[in-house]
Subunit: 161 residues, 2 copies
């Protein structure tokens, strides 16, 4: 899967995905857009959804919970816990979608912020899943659309700063 | 890898392992042995090591940190955060060995406690790793020895209760 700017790789037989995206801003700014609530709500989620931050403890062993709501008022909750957050460099956190029929389908996300020349950033997100089936269900759910929409909004936000 | 009682499966080309072990005690007891500090220190770790619990917050989004010390006084730290803990049923938590040359090699553990007939328990631990290399390094480090020693000590502890 490759959008003009966002590259998503899901190798056959593996229980992981990689999402690679470059941004025209320094790692410090891209990182802050991921951790400061007033910035995060401006870009994360589908184009026509709103986002509410129920919890966001930006520290090692801190909890997070986000709620996305569509135009019809349907809400989708996500939560997890942060194993490590290292300013402008890395975030490692668990992720669970609350709308699944069964609890326990938790994944682990590794976000790496890498400085590029000309004050640009390469963000690589690796997600490891409990199973290949969990990974493929996430892809089928329209994850790519959500990621592409979000990062386009983030481009827009970063261009204003 | 198969000990008389402990079965460890690491399929070629996968970034996960499964550890399966049955215990002659109810899930409630086996679970408590994993979450109550005074019980945990009696069985977790190699036969000739001692264990100290630096942190153990037995709750969703709670942190943990354990320190194992060998006969020569060398210490080995491990830490992580609990995504979910569900009494006598399940624990989902991150895991990181502090002695690696580089931070960030975090894995995600799923412990499932299943009731068997005759007040027995089947404990299935799935661990998913950042890479196949991370998994294989963990196996090479002598993980099997640690798991087998630990579970034999746990058998002993459970038989006294």
């Amino acid at each position: 899967m490759e959008n003009s700017k966002t590259k998503i790789t899901a190798e056959v037989g593996k229980q992981e995905i990689f999402i690679i995206r470059e941004f025209d801003a320094k790692p410090e700014l891209v990182f802050q857009a991921h951790t400061e609530p007033d910035l995060l709500v401006q870009w994360m989620g589908l184009e026509n959804h709103t986002m509410e931050i129920a919890t966001l403890e930006n520290k090692n062993f801190g909890a997070w919970r986000f709620i996305h709501t569509d135009e019809s008022g349907n809400s989708f909750g996500f939560n997890g816990v942060i194993h490590e957050t290292d300013f402008a460099k890395r975030i490692i956190r668990t992720f669970e979608f609350e709308g699944l029929p069964e609890k326990g389908h938790v994944s682990l996300e590794f976000l790496n912020f890498e400085a590029l020349p000309n004050d640009r950033t390469k963000l690589t997100t690796q997600v490891i899943f409990k199973s290949i089936e969990d990974r493929d269900a996430m892809i089928q759910s329209g994850m790519e659309h959500g990621v592409v929409d979000s990062y386009n909004k983030l481009d827009n936000l970063l261009s204003k700063r």
